[in-house]
């Protein structure tokens, strides 16, 4: 046998990710000669057909960018657009938006851990297959996922593309009896969430330490979800309307999604980045459950993303209980006059920072929209990680092992490929 082997691994359709992605790996003489993580999802041109629409139409439209995190799109959009109306949202509206958003974190994170990521660490190709040997764990995951969906439905009537949120607040306030019933379910789910944190911490993940930049929102007192400043562990600390000063996107031929860089460097957004930057903002019961795992944060191991998701499910349940305790229905929305300007919105989608900018004309019509989803931001980091991790894993492994490891690395980011397919051409004018 020739020692100098040439390996070509091609994964045309990545399983267990949202949307269509692919991996191309070419190894020659013990070196990665060529590695391509591509987002092949066809463009859907969201920013273009938002143009000419009324600001009030935007929340229902941007929800359609992603079936798994529609609330995130609605929340970043209403934030950006409301800043143009000179409205003052009420504390009730802000609290209920956070509660609805908690539902999406619970749903999306549970779906990712159990249906998409966990089978990788237990050697199964799918969750239903894993359910035969781990029925309790998979059932617990499905229970949490459905609890998250129920919390979104409380405010949005349905959990995919919810219809309850609007510019100014909500179409209606949920009835008190439904909130009380859901509160009972949330409280009853706390042991599930605590056990999930312990379980994800016990999963045997690769000990792969890396150097990367974490980027997330940071709020003076809360674990970041709906608002805050954009910070990094390299000293970035900016308000959301200064995003474009530091983050730049570029197109690469093999991908329909943009690559985003922070001051010329790749960076990480998402649960691990959030937890790395904000573990000190976790409320008490969540912090001590995490402490019991013995895994210290900040963490440099990308495979701790699954644990970070579990921690955030626990957080989201605790937070939703806090927000909904003593619930009384209130005036569901505020209104006002639109002013022509640019509005900025940024929230923490389950998969990371989601930034929107809208330029709006006098009539309240959208002139221009720019939406930067988390996966575009993580794309450069994923490619870098693949390179490193596959080399660290050992290039002399069998093709199938290499392919699986590559897929595992990608799925670990929970790339939301459907979301990552629309972007604006970047024009840089230097004088």
């Amino acid at each position: 046998m020739n020692e100098r082997r040439e390996i070509k691994i091609n994964v045309p359709v990545l399983a267990r990710v949202e949307g269509e992605g692919a991996l191309d790996l070419h190894i020659r003489d013990g070196r990665i000669e060529h590695l391509k993580f591509s987002i092949g999802e066809p463009p859907r041109l969201f920013e273009k057909f938002l143009e000419g629409r009324d600001a009030f139409e935007v929340p229902d439209m941007v929800a359609r960018i992603c079936g798994i995190c529609p609330v995130a799109y609605q929340m970043s959009a209403v934030q950006a657009l409301e800043s143009l109306f000179g409205w003052r949202s009420t504390p009730w509206i802000e609290a209920m938006r956070r509660a609805m958003y908690c539902g999406e974190w619970i749903q999306s994170h549970s779906l990712h851990i159990h249906l998409l990521a966990a089978p990788d660490f237990f050697g199964y190709s799918s969750a239903p297959e894993m359910a035969r040997d781990y029925p309790d764990e998979v059932r617990r995951g499905l229970r949490l996922q459905s609890l998250g969906n129920e919390l979104i439905r409380l405010f949005g009537a349905r959990s995919v593309h919810p219809v309850g949120a609007r510019l100014g607040g909500f179409h209606s306030a949920p009835p008190k009896d439904r909130v009380i019933r859901l509160l009972d379910r949330l409280r009853a789910a706390l042991p599930d969430a605590e056990n999930l944190v312990a379980w994800t911490a016990s999963v045997d993940v690769p000990q792969d330490q890396q150097d990367f930049v974490s980027v997330a929102l940071r709020h003076p007192s809360e674990y970041p979800l709906y608002s805050g400043r954009i910070v990094s562990d390299t000293g970035l600390d900016i308000p959301v309307d200064r995003y474009e000063d530091h983050f730049r996107e570029h197109q690469e031929a093999h991908s329909t999604a943009l690559y985003s860089l922070l001051d010329g460097r790749s960076y990480l957004v998402g649960p691990l980045a959030r937890l790395n930057l904000n573990w000190d903002r976790l409320p008490e019961p969540v912090r001590s459950t995490l402490a019991k795992t013995g895994i210290p944060f900040p963490s440099r191991n990308m495979f701790h993303s699954m644990l970070a998701r579990a921690v955030e499910i626990h957080f989201a349940i605790v937070e939703a209980i806090r927000l909904l305790e003593n619930y009384e229905p209130d005036i569901p929305f505020v209104s006002g006059e639109c002013r022509a300007r640019s509005g900025f919105g940024c929230t923490e989608a389950p998969r990371g920072l989601l930034w929107h900018r809208y330029d709006v004309g006098e009539s309240g019509k959208i002139l221009k929209a720019r939406i930067v989803p988390p996966t575009s931001q993580n794309q450069a980091r994923i490619a870098e990680d693949l390179h490193r991790s596959i080399e660290a894993f050992g290039l002399d492994r069998a093709d199938d092992e290499l392919r699986l490891h590559g897929e595992k690395v990608i799925r670990n980011y929970d790339p939301c490929i459907s979301c990552a397919t629309h972007f604006l051409k970047l024009k840089v004018i230097r004088e």
């Binding site: 990545l14 399983a15 439209m61 359609r64 009537a157 197109q251």
Partner: protein
Amino acid sequence: MDRKLRVAVHKFSSCDGCQLAFLNAGEKLVELFELADVVHFAEAGIVDPDAPAELAFIEGSISTHEEQERIRRIRENTRFLVPIGACATSGCLQALRNQADAARWFADVYSDPSKIDHLDTATPIAANVPVDLELWGCPVNTRQVMATVSSLLLGAPPRDDNEKICMECKRKNIVCVMVTQGQHCMGPVTRTGCGVLCPGIGRDCYGCYGPAENINGDAWGRWFEQKGMPAERIARRFRYINSEAEAFREAGKHWRDRTGPKPANDASDPSDLSPSSGPSGHLLPKGEGNKARSSTANSSNEKS
């Protein structure tokens, strides 16, 4: 049954939201995997795109050359092909490009559009291959997809529920948001199936389940007009989630044509006034299996 029903779930241009009708099904998802052989469902972890199946659910619209090829292969390998959701039945929002200058949109978005495989249109599945049943909705829900699987398991033809939202609203005793609040509800022209979610929380239906049977979109637009809605807004009402559904497309075009000259800085496309880029209607096959689609095609004949 000695052999299980072979079921596939395929994805085209979409948000993945309709696949959640399965992935959000909880215990029912596990049940589905017990009752049926799921031969392809990439998001759930099973990848075999060319596997023959008795029943294939198709999410997403056809918007690239690769997708045109792939849907043909799937059709050949499938006995009963069911597009699910607005992208697959009417192109959804991305089909708004069909009535605009798509080439310009791509040039605006991509610094090098030639590097991206794309068609200038995003078309429903039925505009590309014959289909057997369409499940409408943005998104479809678990009840819709599981009912289809159950019907076929029992050997009964699945039901195509295309009555108006209003009928279900009345049965549920929901106070009419149109009559009592003057809201611009699309209920009278929209297909039921969602569970009347919007009127249920006191807001107007925005038509995400697509046109109901035999609607009169122009007449409904006139009602909006009488309520003081400008023609351009009426047009946008139809040119929304299901803009490529024939009845909504025709109504949208009708009201678009009635808008006056547009200001120079209007961001929407001037070519909108004379759509000529061949929307999906021209591509419709006359396939026998194309039953569900023909029901919407009929509805456009009803217009005044």
